[in-house]
Symmetry: C2
Subunit: 224 residues, 2 copies
């Protein structure tokens, strides 16, 4: 077995903690697909049925989530390696929550959904990893909802971004009209515009037409 392949699999959240023999066994029992996704193309589209376990191994990938009413979109750069929406393989709505866009050429490793229970039943470590990943996701969303914010407009804006993000760090871009953001934050357009300009002066956001760029969300969270 290729040492690099072994190392690669062990880095993936679903396989962490497995031994070399387990990995060798998995490589013979489970069909892995390697894909090279060209730059500027979509790996998966929001609302598409999720039928495979996918790991982003290298490259720069952005997750674009369009709101229900299609009025705004949040784009987040994902760290790699990244397992794509393991929580969307099953459940009442097994569809991607976001579109995954390869900004640079991206290496993706996929396993058909049908292998999941084989992995979980043969390797307890995989079962625990899987349970940990999807339980953490649900605990994380619950926390976002219950971490109420009662501060001013700036705090509400930060909470809005925080609630809608997959991860609380890195670069995000919010595509939104100022009046739509004002409605979501329950304030007047002029006040929202002033608040955002203040954040821009502090170097925390960068404003463009219908677009708010957040270079590092962790900096914005620290000001609270």
């Amino acid at each position: 077995m290729d040492f690099t392949m072994y190392e690669t699999l062990l880095q993936l959240p679903l396989f962490q903690g497995l031994g070399k023999n387990d990995i060798t066994e998995i490589l013979t029992a489970v069909r892995f697909h390697f894909k090279k996704i060209p730059q500027d193309s979509y790996i998966y589209r929001q609302d598409e049925v999720c039928q495979e376990i996918a790991f982003l191994l290298g490259g720069t990938v952005v997750a674009d989530t369009l709101s229900y009413d299609k009025s705004y979109m949040l784009c987040e750069v994902l760290p790699v390696p990244h397992v794509v929406e393991l929580y969307s393989l099953y459940g009442i709505n097994p569809r991607y929550h976001a579109s995954y866009r390869a900004v640079t050429e991206t290496n993706v490793l996929t396993i058909d959904k049908s292998y999941l229970f084989e992995l979980l039943s043969r390797y307890e470590t995989c079962g625990i990893n899987y349970s940990n990943i999807i339980s953490t996701r649900s605990q994380y969303l619950h926390k976002r909802i219950w971490q109420d914010v009662t501060g001013g407009l700036r705090a509400r804006f930060v909470q809005f971004v925080m609630q809608h993000c997959c991860r609380l760090g890195g670069a995000k871009t919010l595509h939104i009209k100022m009046e739509d953001l004002a409605a979501l934050l329950y304030d007047r357009r002029i006040n929202v515009s002033r608040m955002l300009n203040k954040l821009q002066n502090e170097g925390l956001v960068c404003l463009r037409r219908k677009e708010i760029e957040i270079p590092a969300l962790e900096k914005l969270l620290n000001i609270e």
Copy 2:
């Protein structure tokens, strides 16, 4: 095997779809504990480590969730049978999100957490049920966050209750001070008080000191 026992297990979300032989096998391999919880006592406490799979079989149980800052509490009547926080057995914070209070004498069936992987690995149906339950939970919370509301104060109040509930129906009680609710809804105390009194006149809520009772959440959701 007791027919009632067989019927009882098949009603539980984790075992739905299993055959009679599987259930018989499970009953010999897995240790089940039946408990009778006396009325007016807690089955589990919020923040306690979740170490067992628990099914509420009969009785009236209320889930009390205290907010992070301890300023308010939401109490919800749970329908039975109910599986208690399967999503809290694993993950980054494997603790109960709420306290479970037996309002009447309640029958609880529990299985130690250590049996989970035995069940998942031996019965694919259990594995799929488990994946469906916790994936649905995460999809459901994601939807709550992304279903933004841009309407007036009444819509914000309904959204606040909806986001914090486990299920979108049944009786809820919100223990909260009017000024704290006003801060959470970004409006003045007097406006919140007027909005709630209007809802009370429509029979949708019942107001008491530091307490808002919602007899049927589904009715409140229909007005939107």
